[in-house]
Point group: C2
Chain length 435, copies 2
Amino acid sequence: MEQRIYTTEIAAHVGERVRLAGWLHTFRRLGGINFLVLRDARGMAQCVVDAPEAVSALEGFLPETVLAVEGVVVAEPQAPGGVELHAPAFDVLSPVRDPLPFPLNKPEIKASLPVFLDHAVVGLRHPAKRALFRLSAGVMAGFRATLGGLGFTEVQTPKLVASATESGANVFGVDYFGQRAYLAQSPQFYKQIMVGVFERVFEVGPVFRAEPHDTIRHINEYVSLDVEMGFIQDHRDVMAILTAVIRGILEHLQATCSSELAALNVKLPVAPPEFPAIYFPEAQELILKRWGQDCRGEPDLAPQHERWLGQWAMEEHGSDFLFVTGYPMAKRPFYTHPNPADRRYSNSFDLLFRGTELVTGGQRLHLYQDYLDSAAARGYTNLAPFETYFEAFKHGMPPHGGFAIGLERFLMQLLGLDNVRLATLFPRDLNRLTP
Amino acid sequence: MEQRIYTTEIAAHVGERVRLAGWLHTFRRLGGINFLVLRDARGMAQCVVDAPEAVSALEGFLPETVLAVEGVVVAEPQAPGGVELHAPAFDVLSPVRDPLPFPLNKPEIKASLPVFLDHAVVGLRHPAKRALFRLSAGVMAGFRATLGGLGFTEVQTPKLVASATESGANVFGVDYFGQRAYLAQSPQFYKQIMVGVFERVFEVGPVFRAEPHDTIRHINEYVSLDVEMGFIQDHRDVMAILTAVIRGILEHLQATCSSELAALNVKLPVAPPEFPAIYFPEAQELILKRWGQDCRGEPDLAPQHERWLGQWAMEEHGSDFLFVTGYPMAKRPFYTHPNPADRRYSNSFDLLFRGTELVTGGQRLHLYQDYLDSAAARGYTNLAPFETYFEAFKHGMPPHGGFAIGLERFLMQLLGLDNVRLATLFPRDLNRLTP
């Protein structure tokens, strides 16, 4: 028996007998010739079937039947990729008796989102879906490769935690041997703690948000790409690393996923060596001056304002990315470092990608007393849940900061998807726990 | 201000003024000279302090005070690494007022395991702990790099699942918007499903086991390194990939973590290009013949027998690794593929590492009808929880198989640790949910 090769490799074997294996994508008669298209993980191959008994066998097979096919590779300018298989012989590896919930052999899946998600187990086999999740893997690989090169160490921190410290309302409760536990909303506290060990750390892992929001941008479990780093001057050092990470991911995609980018018609964003940045109150002034809308004094930017700023960043700075720095302290978590020059504002930032928030980050408090003061100022009366977190600061932590990128939202914005669920293999939301 | 450099870089700067930053590891007077040892993420530097005001300031600082230090690098054969800093000037970045729960500046932490774990937030800063978790990061990186090179695609599958399908007794329940959800025990079903998309997949992520076992080898949340691959002949193709993965990880550690391996005195295991393999009933025969213990008919190997087999593998085959293949079907999950030549036994395997089970894997069923039959044979009356899993097989799945490596157990066995909790940053067990 021949060694199996991939469909994408046959052009190098013209005149040879090869063995392919994959899924029956289509079988059809076109101008009196019978074409079988076999799909594997990397691509497709066209096979021309002449023998009447082969034709009648294939007519009995439903799409997604798993086949091994042996035949001779022939150059044929009209075939996709310029080659096809002749005189193929088949082995059925897995027969199929049930029709698909929707066809996988059309350029697009024609099914509503709920129907697609209900049948994602097979729907994800569609070549366009497969390409999308290859890009997702590429984003993770580019993230890690860039950070590894910058001296960051990967950590894995617990997802089961004893208390709902970051924001009590939005956590899932777990029965833990008769105790109450919670699912971690983020690795925030742990990644800060680990700055005390490695100085520079990252984590790729699931986070859980019990937010009862049913929107195109919310899912309740997602993959967070987390970074934290010590011995910074301020948030601008963190922004420089984030810029390197975004550029590193995009370069990695270009280098390793060119066929997926082409198949999905993705135009990679413009990411200059230094992303433009605007200070929050100055962004509000700009919005007043240029678009006539007075939002000064508001603690946050409206989505519409973010879109304007995104346009402005492209027009003025030729960048798909824009940092907005210095968000008001009132809207940031208690561990946020204030701007020492104006303590109403923070040393934090959002990164807008084409006018939509993609990343949040900033400098954190690092002095133990500052944590006690901040907790007191926010009216936290029970500090017991913070005890081990605060222990790190009690014993000396350097100035530090970090950020988190939502993997699915990055993909959603990169590909211009209209729902984050399309960037998630098996999304979890208010109404969906399966498949 | 000088650019900060790492302590490990100063030897290249003899005669220059440099800026270091890190933690006050020790300060002591030795033979009339005052030595400050500063620790950063990569190593330590010795600073000689003469100025009386500097000495009295340093005498007031507790260990773990975060300092920036500027001084001139001087070659000094008696100093660790042959260089030290003279005439240093200090900035205190974070003062410390509380003594440590145990010293971090001794060669080993002298604390009981519970005390260490209670204070892991600072205990992990100890250089030996830091080295250990750098190796952990190296294992993950080596795992991914090897599989990436073999055409595997990374996936991220949900940790919140609707049903406790693999083994109902051992899952954690979650309140999911008024519904009952569970934490995934493994990505088993999802990684198999994804073989239909990518053929070859891997995942690195947390798994959750609600097993109420209080042993040195059990934790209730751990990191699983999961692999699954399609279009195999049988389990031996999976074993070949696992062999490549183990060897790839070890090579990666050697290439990227040599100082950590040296610091922890780790002897990397002998991993020949092909690991020896023994068929389960033959292993039982060998145990009878060689050690006089008759365990034929038993469905599993006792830990003592695994240790004997580990010794045998080293003596006979010069390998720290040994595959035991063909475990009885009765002891394997319902998706296990039987040995077609003798259906009492399975096409599955364990990989023993120095006589202790490290990896479990094998060929899975791939035909829809086989799943229905296996579920029926096991007495599963309610197939609703399997509906979406079985949907993948209904629509054509190739012969496939895979394996899972527990990250913490691998590290435990590699380093000869006496408790898996020591290979876990923040372990979760029957009695521990913090830090």
